[in-house]
């Protein structure tokens, strides 16, 4: 699955939330975030809903979904992810330490080069 997964804490369903809405949000999120899941849904909606274990109560609304709108919305979401929209700010922070170390190494190498030039 292409969908990026967050830490458990951020994705944990609220214990008070109604299960159908939890399922609907999760299934919709999957269609937006995972292009392969979207294609499977477009090809055979019943099979994808079965695979996701979507409750029967929700299925009719997904059967009737505006497919053109869903495809455009998913495309827009993919575009935003690839553009590294500000939403990705926290994800970027995971690499912050690495970036700092790398930039210091580069600075140190440049400094060393300058010293070599001066000492000549």
């Amino acid at each position: 699955m292409n969908a990026r997964r967050t830490a458990d804490r951020s994705g944990a369903p609220s214990t008070m939330g109604g299960q159908p809405t939890i399922d609907a949000e999760a299934f919709l999120a999957r269609l937006y975030a995972d292009p392969r899941a979207l294609e499977r849904f477009m090809g055979d909606a019943e099979r994808e809903m079965n695979a996701a274990g979507l409750p029967e109560a929700l299925r009719e609304s997904f059967r009737c979904v505006d497919r053109a709108g869903l495809r455009l919305a998913a495309r827009s979401a993919t575009y935003k992810r690839e553009r590294k929209h500000p939403q990705c700010g926290v994800e970027r922070s995971k690499f912050r330490g690495l970036r700092i170390v790398l930039s210091r190494v580069v600075q140190w190498l440049r400094l060393g080069k300058r010293r070599q030039v001066h000492s000549r």
Binding site: A3, R9, S14, G17, G69, H85, P86, G89, V90
Partner: protein, 287 residues
């Protein structure tokens, strides 16, 4: 918020020279908070320098508060730190979900409009207020499709969340226009159905018409185009319907025109809102 209408830009680093050169025409800036969640001291100081020239408000894009899923505590803590540091007039977020059951959408997405979702949103908003210290102003979002599983209209859903949590509305007028085309409703009728007395900030922006697979057109809220006429008309209507002071923010995320073009759009916003205010006064005077 102050006691008069104000007008400003969504701050983007590409616009900084033009903004500083014309700060006499700009009342405030809206800064994307998430861009500074992992900012080092230098970047925070540069933001404070900007703040010394113009008031700022913070705008979050990743909390995903309109969800049955609990808000991400790490992101909330980041927002809290930034708000504590900059002490903006207010901060705002979106009536959207961006993740669910561990799946990261990476985009502001309209959730199924259910009673459970409203309960979740209200819970998340109260938690956000508890952590950050103030309630966010919440923005209506654009969508390409009516979320499956929805039990009510967008206007009713927005109203119930705002009333449940007791928060103000950041009314994005381009999103109203976009949804009126994409979902097929009347944008002026939408304004009648939401609590305009809760509007403290307005967003204006531009997008483009796109062809939908299988025919028909939709509007994409890409923030890459000039503000369309209909948005100014909606702004006038808001001015006519509510006397409350409002901060109007023009959003532009790329394909930047010369700053004079953006300033001209800001002037049109001033004129449009003022026209609505005038109409309201004339109507009151004629009674």
């Amino acid at each position: 918020m102050n006691g008069r209408d104000r007008f400003g830009f969504g701050y983007r680093p590409e616009l900084v020279a033009g903004i500083l050169a014309h700060r006499d025409e700009i009342d405030l800036l809206e800064v994307i908070a998430d861009d500074y969640f992992d900012a080092d001291e230098d970047r925070l100081r540069s933001l404070e320098l900007l703040q010394s020239h113009l008031p700022i408000v913070l705008h979050g894009v990743s909390l995903g508060l309109a969800s049955v899923h609990a808000v991400d505590e790490h992101r909330l803590a980041c927002m809290k730190r930034l708000v504590a540091r900059l002490q903006p007039e207010c901060w705002s977020e979106h009536l959207a979900f961006v993740r669910a059951s561990g799946i990261e959408i990476g985009h502001l997405t309209a959730p199924p409009r259910t009673r459970d979702n409203i309960d979740g949103a209200v819970r998340n908003l109260r938690r956000a207020c508890e952590v950050v210290g103030t309630m966010p102003v919440m923005e209506n979002i654009s969508t390409m499709l009516d979320p499956p599983g929805s039990e009510m209209s967008e206007a009713e859903w927005i109203t119930r969340i705002l009333e449940g949590a007791g928060c103000d509305l950041l009314l994005d007028l381009h999103n109203v226009y976009v949804n009126s085309i994409n979902l097929g409703y009347d944008s002026f009728g939408f304004l009648e159905a939401i609590p305009l007395e809760r509007v403290t900030i307005i967003h204006v922006a531009g997008g483009k018409l796109i062809e939908a697979p299988g025919g028909g057109v939709r509007v994409l809220d890409d923030h890459l185009h000039d503000v369309p006429d209909i948005v100014y008309e909606l702004l006038t209507e808001v001015g006519r319907r509510t006397p409350k002071p409002i901060a109007v923010i023009l959003e532009r995320d790329g394909e930047y025109p010369p700053i004079d073009d953006l300033l001209e759009q800001l002037r049109r916003c001033r004129a449009a809102l003022a026209a609505g205010r005038t109409r309201a006064m004339q109507f009151a005077g004629s009674r």
